[in-house]
Subunit: 397 residues, 2 copies
């Protein structure tokens, strides 16, 4: 992997000052500050900066970004279907998925201390598997920066869009790890049909599941309970996520409680991304009901949104704002959404900052701890991936 | 004031590349790029960076920030009254208002290109006029960075809080320009009593008005219509603002339309600040109804919120996110909230970027124009106040 790297005088989230020795891509030793001085070839003096496990981006669309092609004004659409059609026009104008644009976004998020991410990738009759193949190649090229997990995303529908199911199956054979879905009611008009296809693909391939669900109110809540039921019946608990799930912020208390209980019992996680114009899932209440909540950037300067920065700590702060989080306890929950909770959903083994963990680490210069890191989210002082320094002072090294 | 300063090869919002000559604190000349080369003593090469009028912070609390005292965990409160009580405890523990903390925040916002701001300042029986006096002194010290306008803010109530009205009157005599108010129903329990006191103070002193209104739903909408009525009857149209006005995002269409029409007709502006956990005023609809909407940071790392960065462009982006803004037209409206609209509410004469305007300017390195500046809001390349460079690359010069 790499030579030894010593991170000297790092502050941990619990306040201890430690030296962290990275060897062979792992945290080999973690000892009181000043005690591991002579043991490493390379030394990074952190001077008491807060050291955290590498950030985890739970939901991004690397294939969609328009970064690097100049400013393209957003063409606001009406329905989701209209926006999908407009995105396809633009994609065609730009000559299809681009490794340069995707790479630019991957490098940007890496500089923010993201060491793992889950990217959805569009699959439809027009683009075929070109996006998938592009990201499968890119993830090898950026492996020194971050680990990329891919979701086969049927952005145009799965049941009603000709050939989508076959393309999805082929994507999984090529190495995509997660089966995506999209508004079984709103897009395919066939809840059981789409969920049957999604869970069938997952069962046959051993893949995880991550379904975009924008459908509102009672309809969305119904679909969430159906997803929970499919998760239980296929035994995929702990390997299924639903992204957005705005419905959880819209239904009455009893419907929320029943839906949250079904999700928790089945092992279905919920991804949220902050301050949209619609109600958002209540993160604290879901957490208290036993649902794993995680977070992601979603769209970053693409046909869906001109906004987005790709910084998981800034995402956590935006979510905190939108959720009314202010206490340290709440800010720590916001932090968990872009670290431990996201790692759990992505199926990362041994995530964290302890001896034996992957040496995927990020240092932030704050006076105090995790709550301040979320609130202030300054440029990252140092980012380490697999025991090697990949970014410094907010820029790739 | 200062010697001449030439900003060479600046891109304007309309795409023209120009040279901008600043003399005696004003924009003296504005001509095609490359034509004013030899005329100035000092030259700043902008290399095509986007040059904008200085940003305007419409709502901040310089006296409340805890910047500079280390991380103080937020103590979440229940009601507004409980939170006010907790803030007072903390203020007492910290020895009252602090010019060091306020100055730190003023310098931070200046580095973001803020050249004018409106700060509320707490007035109550415990703090008396200490906050007012502190900020009156500070504004002289930071005049080279930005212009500070002050609002006498009766955070503990005006009618029911002993001595508040007298302190408010004294604050206005000392040089505070705006009369504040706070939830006439929710805090004072006396809508006509508080509004009578606020508008009476404004009429007698010639001050403007800016009232915090958190009261929800029908109650808040009723108070907005009463504020409109008081504005009409006192002839203060164009000099009155309401901050937050969450009620506008909560009421039915007919009530919204009637309330917005009353505000527009009376000349009452609305301040909003983004992605809170409650509904927000609909910015586009208010604008179309003829209401001037502006924006501000509100709390920045203080007893009310651990969040906030003080960057008006980032505030505009958060508002865009929360409002579902994506088109260039909508992002330009978000930009107006922190520039022209806010300047209008603050009563700034000749605001803008034209010959004769104050040489309060900010340069941003983006490929395109204003919509990208909002969406990407990178560190400011250059900030000029009164014809002098005050910040560069995101840091005070």
């Amino acid at each position: 992997m790499s030579g030894a790297l010593l991170l000297a005088d790092a502050k941990l989230a619990d306040g201890r000052h430690v030296d962290v020795l990275c060897e062979n891509g792992r945290v080999a030793r973690l000892a009181p500050a000043g005690t591991l001085g002579a043991s490493a070839a390379a030394v990074e003096q952190l001077g008491g900066a807060l050291l955290l496990p590498g950030l985890v981006e739970g939901h991004i669309h690397l294939d969609k970004t328009l970064l690097g092609v100049g400013w393209i004004p957003n063409r606001p659409g009406g329905s989701v279907a209209e926006r999908i059609a407009r995105e396809k026009e633009l994609r065609a104008e730009l000559g299809g998925p681009s490794p340069e644009r995707a790479r630019r976004l991957a490098e940007r998020v890496a500089a923010f201390g993201t060491t793992r991410l889950r990217s959805h990738v569009d699959i439809d009759a027009e683009v075929g598997l070109r996006g998938v193949e592009m990201l499968l190649a890119l993830r090898e090229e950026v492996r020194h920066l971050l680990d990329v997990q891919l979701v086969a995303f049927p952005q145009s529908g799965l049941v009603t869009h000709k050939g989508a199911a076959e393309l999805m199956a082929e994507a999984l054979r090529l190495g995509v790890e997660v089966v995506g879905g999209l508004d079984p009611a709103g897009i395919d008009g066939d809840v059981e049909g789409q969920l049957g296809a999604v869970f069938g693909l997952a069962e046959r391939s051993g893949a995880m599941v991550d379904i975009h669900l924008h459908d509102f109110g009672e309809l969305g809540a119904f679909e969430l309970r159906r997803i929970a039921a499919w998760t239980r019946s296929t035994g995929l608990g702990g390997r299924v996520a639903v992204s957005h799930a705005f419905a959880l912020g819209m239904v009455d208390e009893a419907t929320f409680a029943a839906t949250a209980a079904a999700l928790a019992e089945a092992g279905v996680a919920i991804m949220t991304n902050g301050p949209g114009p619609v109600p958002m899932p209540p993160v604290r209440q879901l957490t208290e009901a036993g649902v794993v909540v995680f977070a992601g950037s979603d769209n970053i300067r693409d046909a869906w949104s001109p906004l987005g920065d790709g910084d998981p700590l800034s995402t956590a702060a935006r979510i905190a704002w939108r959720q009314g989080f202010a206490s340290d306890q709440d800010l720590e929950l916001a932090f968990a959404l872009v670290t431990g909770n996201a790692a759990r959903v992505l199926g990362v083994e041994g995530y964290g900052l302890h001896e034996g963990a992957a040496a995927d680490l990020v240092a932030v210069r704050v006076e105090a701890g995790v709550p301040e890191a979320v609130a202030a989210h300054p440029p990252r002082a140092l980012v380490v991936k697999g025991g090697r320094v990949v970014a410094r002072d907010g820029r790739l090294a």
